[in-house]
Amino acid sequence: MKGVIRLAALTRSYGTTTAVDGVDLEVRAGELITLVGPSGSGKSTILRLIAGLDRPDSGRILVDDVDVARMPAHRRAVAMVFQDYALFPHLTVLGNLTFGLRVRKVRRAEADQRARIAAQRLGIGDLLDRYPDQMSGGQRQRVALARALLRDPSVYLLDEPLASLDAPLRFATRADLLALHRELRTTTIHVTHDQHEAMTLGDRVVVLAAGQIRQVGPPQQVYDAPADTFVAGFLGSPPMNLVPGGGVLGGDATLTLGVRPEDLTLDDAGRIAATVEAVEALGSEAILLTRCPDGTRLTVRTGPRPGVGPGDEVRLRADRLHRFDAATGRRR
């Protein structure tokens, strides 16, 4: 099977900012992998480097064990879906889909035929004569996907493909993307800054910060055992409670202890005393914002209608503590 990508010590700086800083990563053939990180963490730069739209300062990019450093972008058998879709506004959908084929000197009739098939597959077969500004966000996203399909690549690079869709559409499209990947089984690198997407889409998730990889693994595993305090705070909403020095969670000064909001339970026998400051009722669940006597704030996730209100004294029980080194932030 084709589509194995190996990045080795990949580095790219712009002036004084190091956008990608010594990234090592192996993507297996047919895998759907998600790059997640706050904005500015170098996700798009990694995609552009793999696509050949940008050159690394150092490090290597191997596609199917071939070093592609000197290969121009269009020979790399990768297709990219850009965050803004990068549709050509002066061309119809058909023109957009056949642009690359025509540049590569495919005959018009054949190009049209192939474009039609790709469009049909993504359910935009009857939009071929529209211009991009006559379509909805979701339709445009499909055109961008269809254009990528037409490349018939061994790797798909998707740069925040869902970011500019509104919430319900994003939910539906997420499922479509998964279905498409299951059908094609082509290596796909998917970039997002949305942790929901990171958790639900992808066999493995790669957490990036400041151009460096913090952790790689199946989403649930990364969630259950975050490698450091950054990953712990980034994945999960509301984020994990992190208490330097242990404090109310007990422990010693060399550690930072963490506990996820759902692992804190209201329990009259609990060891932790706290005062409720606010209750956020979210319908299916509720979030309690509490404060301990020593000033530590703890966020607690409970079922709906927890039966407490602001000002109430409560006791909490903590399960599944995460232990991090106080100095390095690494998991211990």
């Binding site: 940008d54 050159r55 690394p56 300062d57 150092s58 000197r70």
Partner: protein
């Protein structure tokens, strides 16, 4: 390691223009300096080096003195008039309104009149007996002037003619005004700031960098380029009153076989331009408009 390509590609696209600039602007500009110290007439092929002979000739050239005077008078009147017209009309007509484009078109139209046609037209407009301008003055009971026969009115007549083709500056002001943030004006209006307050406290300060650039560009145009209509209109007359420096250079180089001397006067003209612009920039630096 290879650096990204786009930068190189960008420069490659600039290459044809850069070559043209080198061949048609930079090389001739440098040659100017060389020729200024020769006896080249423009007719032969073997100019001889004559040292400072041309400079000595320049020092007691009465025509050059007249020419300098005419140019300075022209710049000090034409630049402000053109500047105020372009900026004033640009700001007056920038706001959208029904038919607004046609008002702007009317203001721009004189700019597309070819230079010669503009000059011929103003020969007619300024005609002392039948010209529309004197007849217009007649409606107000004024006897009118013999425009092109008297040194002062001839100079004013040229300025009058050049007050019409102001389209380039006008368009720049229109565009720059559109770029200003409308919310600033809403905020100012909420404070009870009327149109004049907005002009003085918002528009002009925000547009200042563009305006300075426009003024600089117009000084150069007025000193050196706009001479074509003046050349056709008056050709230096009367009594050298409109013998602007470019007209003098043109006469020297192309009429009197004084190629080398013309080159030297060209350098003088460049220096004067540079001095005026430097002065302007120093003046506005005190207002801190250029960051």
């Amino acid at each position: 390691m290879t650096r990204p390509r786009p930068a190189l590609t960008g420069w490659a696209f600039l290459a044809p223009y850069a070559i043209a600039v080198a061949l048609l602007v930079a090389v001739p500009a440098l040659l100017n300096v060389g020729y200024a110290f020769t006896d080249h007439t423009g007719l032969t092929r073997d100019p001889q080096f004559v040292g400072l002979a041309n400079v000595r000739r320049m020092l007691d050239d009465r025509f050059l003195l007249d020419s300098l005077q005419a140019s300075l008078f022209h710049v000090s009147l034409a630049v402000p008039v053109r500047f105020v017209a372009a900026v004033g009309l640009g700001l007056l007509l920038a706001a959208p309104r029904p038919g607004g484009r046609w008002f702007r078109t009317a203001v721009y139209l004189p700019t597309v009149i070819p230079d010669v046609a503009l000059a011929v037209l103003f020969l007619w407009v300024l005609n002392p007996l039948y010209g529309p301008l004197n007849q217009l003055l007649g409606l107000f009971g004024h006897a009118g002037y013999n425009w092109l026969a008297d040194p002062t009115t001839a100079r004013i007549g040229v300025v009058l003619m050049l007050a019409f083709p102001i389209g380039e500056g006008f368009v720049v002001v229109l565009a720059a005004r559109r770029l200003l943030d409308g919310r600033l004006y809403e905020a100012a209006a909420l404070e009870g700031c009327g149109p004049f307050g907005q002009l003085r406290r918002l528009t002009l300060p925000l547009l200042a960098p563009v305006l300075v650039l426009l003024a600089v560009r117009d000084i150069i145009l007025t000193l050196q380029v706009n001479f074509v209509p003046a050349y056709v209109l008056t050709d230096g007359r009367p009594a050298n009153a409109t013998l602007y420096l470019p007209v003098y250079i043109f006469d020297q180089v192309f009429e009197f076989s004084g190629f080398a001397y013309g080159s030297l006067v060209t350098i003088l003209l460049m220096l004067i331009t540079a001095v005026i612009i430097t002065g302007l920039l120093l003046l506005v630096r005190r207002w801190r408009v250029l960051r």
